[in-house]
Amino acid sequence: MCRTLAGLVLIAVGVTRPAPAQDLAAFEKKVSVRTLANGLTLVVCERPEAPVFSFFTHVDVGGDREVPGITGLAHMFEHMAFKGTDRIGTSDYAKEKAALEAVETAYAAYDSERRRSVGRDENKLLELEKAWKDRIAQADGYVVKNEFSEIVDREGGVGLNAFTNSDETGYFYSFPANRLELWAYLESERYLKPVMREFYKERDVVYEERRMRTESQPIGRLIEQFLAAAFTAHPYGQPVVGWPSDLTSFSATDALEFYARYYVPSNMTVVVVGDVKAASVFPLVEKYFGRLKTAPKPGPLRSSEPPQKAERQVVVKDPAQPFYIEGYHRPAFNHPDDATYDVLQDLLSSGRTSRLYRALVRDKKIAAAASGFGGFPGVKYPGLFAFFGVPTPGHTPEEIQAAIRAEIERLKTEDVSDAELATVKTRTRANLIRRLDSNQGLAVQLGTYQARHGDWRELFKDVDRIQKVTQADVRRVANETFVETNRTVAVIQSTQMATARDSGDKR
């Protein structure tokens, strides 16, 4: 109904106005897709609102392809993709290349001696460490600090950043529209010939990121343990930032091997959104990204999570305030029930009418926030449907657990009302529209859907599928998923809370 209304109004106003941008038909007119000869996929969305554009480079590899010894390497490479190339960030690449090779040789010698469990020679180790550091100092002499980022900043780029998660790696920023060719050059160049300069300093930086996000945050510490317990075979159990031992061991050579296998054009999707013409973007991308060498797309991951046989529990005794999370294995994004999980998430968690808000926050007043969400830590492979609750002062994780379980039981035994289901469906449609209002947001979404489903249109079809979910679907999926043997529970039990209570009289 909303589409018809909006459509009518626009026709009345005049034909010169751009078509309404909220539906698939409108986007069909603005979006074009090409696959280059080397296998790289390019998506262009014309959105001439202002003379700017944003892009998103999606690489179909994240923590999912890491094995013991190299956990954290996908994220590490993401950091290295800002360090420049053989033409950016160096004062003399020929000499720098030789110096970096010497660093790798020295590091290999140092690292193998360091990790000898029997007969390690401490004096030799010190010598090897010094030799390695000396060579780093030599190689650093050729570095032009942060030249890649400096060019982007200076040329008017904004929002320069990147992310790595369990499923994928993404790179993005926005440029004024007259920098399209410069962008095509810079963005292809960093995947054409990345140089692992300052690798070991950057490894320290990444370890600081781990200290900040994981080690020094109570909930960060808990989530790492939670995922490690929930997954036994699948890489979703490994932290994306990497285990400490790997973060202090892997080498620039490891990073280049990882890059060579996964940063191939057939594994990459590039999206440009903004004041551009597809007819201008295609030849430029062909010209610059066409330089990337053709290579086969990596084969599917072998490991999959075996069915869980028994409930798992993690209890972290921590000086921080209490926290509760539980998760149940669920299928991947391309399973027919995916839309039903989306409905469950919305029903349980969206806004003040959501079931968990009303039960835990509004009525029982035991939680400051409570939520159930669909694909954790990713959706590319079977992941978790997780529930969490933040207890209010004086309330316990046990109370949160009981209240969440009561809501789960309700989903399993009673049909969702017509009104509730209708609200979920309306809200999903309205929220899709709200997600289409920025170049950068659109680029990320079109790219993610194109890479994951092989078609950006699935962004809109996802919403259509949600419209077809029935009461019976919700009940069936709840009954299949939310069972004890499929569950992992993780709790922060506050040691501080116990202390405060024990010493309460003394104060």
């Binding site: 980022s149 600081e208 080690e215 020094s216 509004r362 209010t392």
Partner: protein
Amino acid sequence: MTRRATFVALAAGALFAPALASGQAKDWREIQKPALPAFTPQQPKRIALPNGLVIFLQEDHELPLVRGSARIRGGSREEPAAKIGLVSLYGQVWRTGGTKTRTGDQLDDDLEARGARVETGGGLDSTFASWDCLKESFDQVFGTWVELVRNPEFREDKLPLAKNQLNTGIARRNDDAGQIAGREARKLGYGADSPYARVAEYATVAAVTRDDLLAWHKATVHPNNIILGVVGDFDSKAMEAALRKALGSWPRGPAAPRADTTLREAKPGVYFVQKDDVTQSQIRMVHAGIRRDSPDYFAIEMMNEVLGGGFSARLISNIRSKKGLAYSVGGGVGADFDHAGLFQLSMGTKSGSTAAAIDALYEEIDNLLKTPATAEELTRAKDAILNSFVFRFDTKQEVMAERLLYEFYGYPPDFLQQYRAGIEKVTTDDVARVARAHVHRDKLALLVVGKASDFDRPLASFGPVATLDIAIPEGATAGSPPTRR
């Protein structure tokens, strides 16, 4: 508007043609960068009603949405010291407590079924009431918004719920080292009792009553204290008529209260918060900053860019990239619209390099005073700001938000143009002068949150250390004891 869109499209087509004709560039410097086509962003329509309400209307027909937000003068800096948290509670219960005719829960049901939102909230110097809806449900949703703004009920039962939120925040405020550092640095920079630094406690939250919320509403929500911005898929004439009809007869009221914003100087020294469950120290250095209407503002912006703007700035280049001491490091002289900001440097580093990191930050401060900005650094900073200038008005929403901001703080409507002109004029001498005027090593309060036993060198090597007590005071009155089971 239509002509503008066509012009941009044509210009874009034209300027990419030469690039296509050329060959593949080997070096980024060879790449042609045609001038950006002239772009005049669509300005919102400003309407001043006789009752003092100022309205901005910005048509944006891309998506079938209508969004509006009223910014109301008066915020938490104006709340009484014994009732800190009042404005935050007010901002929550305004919406959850419903209107004279409908409860907040009824509003929830009605709005969610339409995929719409009406929200309220409290901030430092203002409160807000906003809506966000599909164009098709504008009449109903705007009606709800008017009802909530003119006739809120602040039902008693939602006040404990809002207090639960604040008390949970208080209970958890020492869990995260970064949060501790941010909060305590503000106290050091502004003074612990300053309206810009003080925080809610169980007792101040417990002291707030429904009458306080009603009184706050009565003291502030009058048309002459409000600026309303509306953006989206509407016809301005029709929207203006609807707004005049709904809000034109609303009588004026007293001006909103205004806090005294004189600031005390920070007390220099070395401050420490013990936190044993971390592997990374949080470091802050802080003293008073400037106001945005200071004549030094533009030069300060350039100094900030050289020091901490982006990856190529000094702090990131030297402390992160070169020394590998931090993931997160940044800082600069803060410049708020109507009160002085703070000069602040912040970073996180592993416990074992805490002292080395402090040395590195001091070195950057010394270096900033010795060699404030080279000609090359200044050019780079100007390029970064001026070449990306178009991103300050690349959406219609942003253009309106900018105007609203200047209106709220009494800045000229063309402040953005003045900013650009101001930046262009800054010289290296200006940067040197403002660095000397506004950055003072001897006035800095140094704060470290971390595990002292793992530090590479005792903090005492930087001067006498004052350990801050961050224990959370228990509630003085019944209602929200933190340790009740």
